[in-house]
C-alpha cells in the first residue's frame, strides 16, 4: 500500500543534496516505526520512491515522495494520518512533512507524472527592474534559445514553451521572480533558467513552490484526488490536503 507524502526543506538543511536526503529519509521511516516495506536482494532498503531531485542549496515547500507500507487498506488511512507528525518529529530541523495521503493502486510515479514546477528566485533590490524588463520581453517572445552541454557537445534548443508564467512578486523577504518551468520531455532546470536571464541576476535563494501534473489541459498538485490520491466520501484528510497551501506560497500570493 502506497502513501504519498508532501514535505518541505528550508534553512541550513538546503545544503544537503538529494542523496543525503534519501539517507535521512531511510533512517526517518525506521525511527518513526512505520510498517514500511523493504526491497529484496542483498541490501534491502525501505521502499521509498523519490520524486524530482532538488539540487543542493535549493529550498522547497513542495517536495513529494511515495512510501510503501505493509498494512491493510483499513489501517492505511490511520497510518497516513499520523505520518506528518511522526515523521516531522524524527526529521532534522528544516525538513517537515506537511501532508500524507494514500494512493490508489496503479497511480503513476512522481517521476512520470509531474509535468512542471513553479520556482521562486529571490531578487536583489538592484535586479528587480531589469528582471521585470526581461520577463516582459520573454512573455512576448516567440522563441527562447538555451545552450546546453550534453556528453561534451553543445546544443541549442528552444525552451520557450517550457517556460510558463513569469511574475515578479513582493514577498516579505523582498522581491521574487516566480516562474513555472516544464519538466518534459526535458526539464529546464532552475540553474539553466537563470542562465537565460539577461543581464544575469545576483545569486539568490531558489525555492520550489509547486509541482504540477497536467492532464487534459488541467493542472493538479500531486496530492489532489485527480492525481490518484484516495479520497473516500467524507474523508477530511484527503480533502484537507488539497486546500493546504504552504505558508510560503500564501505569502507570495498575498
Amino acid at each position: 500500500m502506497r502513501v504519498r507524502v508532501r514535505w518541505s526543506k528550508h534553512g541550513k538543511i538546503r545544503f544537503c543534496g538529494h542523496r543525503d536526503a534519501a539517507r535521512i529519509w531511510e533512517r526517518a521511516v525506521r525511527r518513526a516505526e512505520l510498517p514500511v516495506a523493504y526491497s529484496q536482494g542483498f541490501t534491502p532498503r525501505p521502499r521509498i520512491s523519490f520524486g524530482l531531485a532538488l539540487a543542493t542549496g535549493q529550498e522547497s515547500v513542495a517536495e513529494y515522495l511515495d512510501v510503501d507500507l505493509r498494512t491493510t487498506p483499513e489501517e492505511l488511512y490511520d497510518w497516513a494520518a499520523c505520518m506528518p507528525e511522526r515523521l516531522s518529529a524524527v526529521l532534522p530541523d528544516g525538513m517537515t512533512v506537511t501532508d500524507a495521503c494514500p494512493l490508489s493502486p496503479g497511480t503513476a510515479s512522481l517521476q512520470d507524472a509531474v509535468t512542471s514546477c513553479t520556482w521562486e528566485f529571490a531578487l536583489a533590490e538592484s535586479d528587480v527592474t531589469s528582471a521585470a524588463g526581461w520577463a516582459a520581453r520573454v512573455r512576448s517572445a516567440d522563441s527562447l534559445p538555451l545552450q546546453r552541454e550534453r556528453k561534451g557537445r553543445t546544443t541549442t534548443s528552444d525552451v520557450r514553451t517550457a517556460v510558463g508564467d513569469l511574475h515578479i512578486l513582493d514577498a516579505s523577504v523582498g522581491s521574487v521572480l516566480v516562474a513555472e518551468l516544464g519538466t518534459k520531455p526535458r526539464a529546464v532546470r532552475p540553474a539553466e533558467f537563470l542562465r537565460l536571464i539577461a543581464p544575469p541576476l545576483a545569486a539568490g535563494r531558489v525555492r520550489r513552490l509547486h509541482q504540477w501534473i497536467t492532464r487534459d489541459g488541467e493542472r493538479y498538485e500531486p496530492l489532489a484526488p485527480e492525481a490518484g490520491v484516495l479520497a473516500p466520501a467524507g474523508d477530511s484528510l484527503a480533502a484537507a490536503s488539497i486546500d493546504a497551501v504552504p505558508a510560503a506560497q500564501q505569502e507570495v500570493c498575498a
Binding site: I13, C16, R23
Partner: protein, 652 residues
Amino acid sequence: MRSLWSALEPLLDQVQRPARYIGGEEGAGPAAHAPDKVAWLLCYPDSYEVGLPNQGLQILYEILNERPDATAERAYAPWGDLEVLMRRHDLPLFSVDTHLGAGEFDVLAFNLSSELVYTNVLNLIDLAGVAVRAADRSGDDLLVGAGGHCAFNPEPLADFVDFFVLGDGEEVVGEITEAIAARRSEGRAAVLEALAGIEGVYVPAAYEVTYSGLSAEVTRRWPGAPETVEKRTISSLGDWPYPKRQLVPLTEVVHDRLNVEVFRGCTRGCRFCQAGMITRPVRERPAEQVRTMITEGLRRTGYDEVALTSLSTADFSGIEELVADTVGPADDDAGGAGCPAVTVSLPSLRVDAFTVGLAAELQRARRTGLTFAPEAGSWRLRQVINKLISTDDLDAAVEGAFSQGWRRVKLYFLVGLPTETDEDVLGIAALARRCVELGRRHVRGASVTVSVGGFVPKPQTPFQWFGQNTVAELHRKVALLADDLRADRGVRLKWHDPEATLVEGLASRGDRRFGAVIEDVWRSGGTFQEWSEHFDYGLWLDAMERHGLSVEDYAYRHRSGTETLPWDHLSAGLHKDFLWQDWQDALAESGLEDCRWTPCYDCGACTGYGIEHVVASAVPPAGGSQGTGQNLLKPEPVPVQLLATRPLAGVS
C-alpha cells in the same frame, strides 16, 4: 557571542559538499554558553567525513556538555575550497554546532589519530586566529590541547600545542575544566602550571629539551610538573556508557553506522601494535550494557548497521551470542518485505577467534567486508611480531567465511617488519593463494584482496628501537610481491605508498626539532597529507634538508638500548626494561603468550596503576589456539576481575 552563519552561508553555495559545514546532526548540542563555563572547541584535524564518526571526540563532547561548568562544540578541517574563501573573507575556524568563531572558546582541543594530520593541526590553529607557536600566544588566547594515540610521542608538536593528554580522556577532561575555571583569573601561566600538575597531562613548556647529536636531555623546568607523565586509564568501561547519543550526520561519512565500543585495551601483545600497548589493560563493557547501547542506539538513530568496536572484537566474552541477539531472530517473514536483519560489522577480527559459528550469525544479515590481519607471511615472522596465529587458525577462519557465503575476504599484511627476509614477503603470496584455493572449494570466483602496508615503528612499543625499512626497500618488497602474484587472478594486491610510510615514521618517532619541518611543510601549503592526492613527499624531504635533519637518523637507523628516546619522559605504563626484553625476545623469534590467560609479565600497565583486566570470563573463548600458542583446551581460571557470571556459549 555572534554566529558566523550569515557570513558563511553565501560561501557554502560555492563549495563542494556544503552539508559538512551545517551541523544539525541528531544528537548534537544544545550548546549552552555562559561566562563562568569553560568552552571547548573539539576539533578533528581532518575533513568532516573522516572526523565526525570519531568515537573519542564524541565521548568527550557528551561528557563535557553534561557538566554544569563546561560546554563543548565541534570543528573539523574545512576542505581546501572553503578554506580559500574563509581566508579571503576573513572568517576564522568555526564550530559546526552554532557556527561560532574559534575565538569565542577557551580551549581548542585536537584528536590526534595519525601523524600525517600534523600540518592540518597547524593550519587549524592558524585559522582559529592565534599564533601557531605556543610561545607566541598570550593572555586570553585559546589554549591549544591535544589527545589521542599520537600523544604518546607528541614531541614533534611540542612547540605548537599547550598541553597534551595521555590515555583515556573520560575523567581528565573534567579535571582540566576545573583547573581552567579555577585559575584563569590568574592568567595563562597559572593555568598551564595547574594543568601540568594534573595526572595524565603533559605541558611541553614545563620541560626543557637540549640536543647534542643523536642524544637528548630532558630537564624539568617547573617543580609542579612530574618527572614522568603517566597516562590516564579508566578502570571500568561500564562506568562510561558513552556515547549515549551518537551523532547521526546529515551527509555521508565514513563508518556511517552505529558504533558500540565493546572493550578497550588488548592483551595479545602484538609487538608492532601501538594501540595494543598503550591501551592496556583489557576492560570489557558488561554484555548487558552493550546490548542496551545497541538496542537504544538503533532505535534512536534509525541505523540498520552496528559495528562492535575494539582492537579485537572476536575476543569479547560471549561474542557469538551477542552477535546472534543483535542480528535478531530468524526471519519469519519469508517474503522478505519486512524489516531486514540488523547488519553487524566487526571491524577488527583476529583469524584465530573467528569461528564458523560467528560467520554463520553474521551472514544472516547483509555480509559486510571481512578483513583478517595475519600481518606477516610466515610463522617465523609472526613469532617475531608476536602475532601467534597458526596456518590452521587462518585456514579455519577463511574456510569459515567462504563456507558461509562470503566471496571475497581481505587480508592485511605489513612489510618492513624486523628480521624480515624475501622468503617472508613471498610467504604473503603463498598464503593468499592458499586462501583462494580454500575459497574455491566453497564458492566459484572466490577471491582475496591482499592489502600491504609499510611498517612504521611506533613509540611505547617493543619495536621503538627498530630502524624502519627505507623507501627503496619497501618498493622492492612490494614489487617482489606484485611480481609473484601477477599470474594469480584470484588475488588482488593493494599497497600503501612507501613515501607516506616514511613521513609517518619521521613524525612518529620525531623529537621537538621535527616541529620546524612540520611548520615548513604547512607554510609551503602541505595540508591534508593523509590524502594520497594531496600528499607531497618532496615538501617533506626539502624541509628535512633545510633544517639540517637526516632521514637516516630519524627513521632508518636502529636505536640503541642506552639512548634517551624523545618520549622517555612520557609513560604508557609499560616499563622500558619490559619493552626492551620483548624486543630481544622478538629478535630471538620467541613469542609471548597472551597475558589474559597466563600469569602477569609485569609489563607495568596493570601493576603500575593498581588496576587489572576486566573481563566477563576467566576462561578463554573457544576456537583455534587463540593466538596464544597455548593449549586452551583445558582452560584454567586466571586472576582477573570478573564482570558477570552469565554462561558463555561455546565454552566446554
